[in-house]
């Protein structure tokens, strides 16, 4: 029997934690249903998806021009633009900004891009305190674990676990399990960090080339606070986040919140053009800075790849995670990379530093049933399950993964006569083979939970004749 892969082993662990699995699955399903209602209530939803996909196709095909325009306008507005080729470059650039301004404490709002490069750990090793301020991010930071979902980082944790965590780390009463009061504890604790921080870090959902503007979408106000109280704002984003203008932004914003959380709009959509203005009476010597770190880290390689380029259109709504039957059962941590679910399996191996994931990248494209639910829900129409198939084909072609061991099936499937004979035999002899075939599949696949479907009593042909 082959050893189960890390993905399968962790997925099995997740399934064995019954309460966690049930919660996680239900939460993802609820998010999916909210998106369902929001999409149904939005006039012209399908046309909007088409338009968004067309805008992304155009933008990615002209990314050099839009990037240059964005950089020029952002600089004209007073921002300092940095380019980073790898995650390590990001870490170095950000640390350099901190060093120059003697930064001791950073408040950070959610940024998957900085998760990619392990920025928090890097800065902390240099003695800088990094406080995550999005509630979900703060929870996983205090647990010392990575996020399990792009949009809802602590989706896998129950109220009970979070209550125990806060009692241990924030001093809330151990029997306090009311989400509202637990949130109030974090709010009070983080207010103090916001007021004392020297630098605020954010990601960005979009970068508007026309105006040199960064756009950050959020519900909690932690991102806006991170850029309002500290005087220095550092935004880290992938180069693919650039879009042409505000008219295009209006298209993506109508899709993003509805797809992510089922809201028509998130609570705060903030547009930053240049650094924060000085308040009246503030000394001109006080720094007011906006640093924009534009990250490549594998994105230009994806752009050059005609089959995978479309994956760069992703707006990180997380809808494909919520509908994925594999993600919902395996859990986000099974993937072993920053980005999980269908989009994660496509992006992680190219965008994240090689070897940083705890699952071999060759396994990711196989963490899918290829049912296509991800493709169907994607607001920017990325053909996700085809992307996974492309990966599989490449892995097999390059010899990194063995091809399917079902070569004998081809002659059977391509001959109507052989197929019928096999189908009749299969149905008749099924009870005999069932046990042996099940054991064989489980051993070959390392997936004891896989069920072999029972053949129908009659074939379609038989049914058609007797109808």
């Amino acid at each position: 029997m082959s050893r189960p892969s890390p993905f399968r082993a962790r997925a099995a662990e997740n399934l064995a934690l019954h309460e966690r699995h049930r919660l996680f699955d239900a939460a993802a399903w609820r998010a999916r249903m909210k998106r369902e209602h929001a999409a149904a209530a939005c006039e012209g939803w399908e046309a909007l998806r088409e338009r968004a996909a067309a805008i992304k196709a155009h933008t990615l095909d002209h990314l050099d021009l839009y990037l240059e325009r964005f950089v020029e306008r952002a600089q004209a507005a007073g921002a300092t633009v940095h380019f980073a080729e790898t995650g390590q470059d990001v870490n170095r650039s950000v640390f350099e900004i901190c060093r120059r301004r003697a930064v001791r404490k950073i408040v950070k709002s959610k940024s998957m891009t900085t998760e990619e490069c392990g920025l928090n750990a890097h800065l902390e090793r240099q003695g800088i305190e990094v406080v995550d301020t999005d509630l979900g991010e703060r929870i996983v930071q205090l647990f010392g674990e990575p996020p399990s979902h792009i949009v809802a980082p602590a989706l896998h944790r129950s109220t009970r676990e979070i209550a125990a965590l806060f009692a241990r780390t924030l001093g809330s009463p151990p029997d306090e399990t009311d989400p509202e009061r637990l949130t109030a504890y974090v709010r009070r604790d983080l207010r103090r960090h916001f007021l004392a921080a020297d630098l605020g870090m954010t990601g960005a959902n979009f970068a508007v080339a026309e105006t040199g503007t960064l756009v950050v979408v959020e519900n909690e106000a932690n991102s806006l606070l991170s850029t309002s109280l500290p005087r220095i704002h550092v935004a880290v984003l992938g180069i693919e986040k650039v879009i042409p203008g505000l008219a295009e932004l209006g298209v993506f914003l109508r899709l993003l919140a509805r797809s992510a959380t089922g809201q028509p709009m998130s609570v705060y959509t903030t547009h930053y053009t240049g650094p924060q203005a000085r308040a009246g009476g503030e000394a001109a010597s006080e720094p007011r800075e906006l640093h924009v770190v534009l990250v490549d880290a594998g994105r230009s390689a994806l752009l050059a790849d005609p089959e995978h380029r479309r994956a760069l259109a992703c707006i990180r709504c997380g809808a494909c995670l919520n509908v994925c039957p594999v993600y919902r059962r395996a859990g986000g941590h099974a993937y072993g990379w920053t980005y999980s679910g269908p989009i994660g399996s496509v992006l992680a191996p190219t965008m994240e530093p090689p070897g940083s994931g705890t699952t071999p990248p060759e396994e990711l494209p196989f963490a899918s049933s290829l049912c296509g639910a991800c493709t169907e829900i994607c607001p920017v129409k990325i053909d996700l399950h085809h992307q996974l198939l492309f990966w599989r084909r490449r892995l097999v072609e390059s010899g990194r993964k063995p091809g399917p061991r079902i070569a004998w099936l081809a002659p059977v499937l391509s001959s109507p006569l052989l197929f019928r004979v096999a189908a009749v035999l299969g149905r008749r002899l099924w009870p005999l083979f069932r046990f042996a075939a099940g054991a064989w599949l489980a051993a070959a696949d390392g997936a004891p939970r896989r069920h072999i479907p029972v053949p129908a009593a009659r074939s379609f042909r038989e049914w058609w004749r007797q109808r």
């Binding site: 509630l135 929870i139 109030a184 909690e220 028509p264 240049g274 009246g280």
Partner: protein, 198 residues
């Protein structure tokens, strides 16, 4: 070659410059009103209050603040009412019970109000009070986001934010909690005759 040049060169090599940008969306004829705005805002846990005339705004704000004095005011609201703005130092704003600010546009479909730095140059004014009251010109309502982006011209430097309800989170088992970091309450008042900054 420098890092930006290397990255741009790789990106340039990958771009075909052939896929066209779709033509702009046609803007629909306006058909939504403040009632629609109110419904959208209520769904986002905010409240639309009765419209008032500009001359009555100060009284209405005192009523809402529940006392003889005005709530804290962001800069432009303060200038309009001839009062002093709230302090710019965020430490002095922490736990302010209520603050009123003016906004530029309202979006009926989503219950959204646009505020920029002409209205609230100190961003923290919008975030630190427990309750935020937004005053919007009663004739500044548009249907949806495309209408907003077609009308609003951002300044060459500065910020603008679209606020759609009070701050919220659902990160603990998806239970909705208001006031995650920012205001727990959001009220919007259409003001008849509220001038727009020039």
């Amino acid at each position: 070659m420098s890092t930006p040049e290397r990255i741009l060169q790789r990106v340039r090599a990958a771009c075909g410059h052939s896929v066209p940008l779709p033509p702009p969306e046609a803007l629909a004829t306006p058909r939504l009103g403040w009632a629609d705005f109110g419904r959208a805002l209520a769904a986002a846990a905010g409240s639309l209050l009765e419209p008032v005339a500009l001359a009555r705004v100060a009284d209405r704000l005192r009523e809402l603040a529940g006392g003889p004095t005005l709530p804290a005011l962001a800069d432009r609201a303060a200038a309009l009412l001839g009062a002093a703005p709230a302090p710019a130092d965020p430490r002095l704003l922490d736990e302010t019970p209520a603050l009123a600010a003016t906004g530029e546009w309202a979006v009926a479909r989503t219950g959204t109000v646009l505020v920029d730095d002409r209205h609230a140059p100190v961003r923290a004014h919008l975030l630190l009070p427990e309750r935020l009251i937004l005053l919007v010109p009663s004739d500044a309502l548009v249907d949806d986001l495309p209408d907003l982006y077609a009308r609003y011209r951002p300044r060459p430097a500065g910020y603008f934010t679209l606020i759609s309800g009070p701050s919220k989170t659902a990160d603990i088992e998806q239970v909705l909690v208001l006031g995650a970091h920012g205001p727990r309450r959001l009220d919007v008042i259409p003001v008849v005759g509220l001038p727009r900054p020039v």
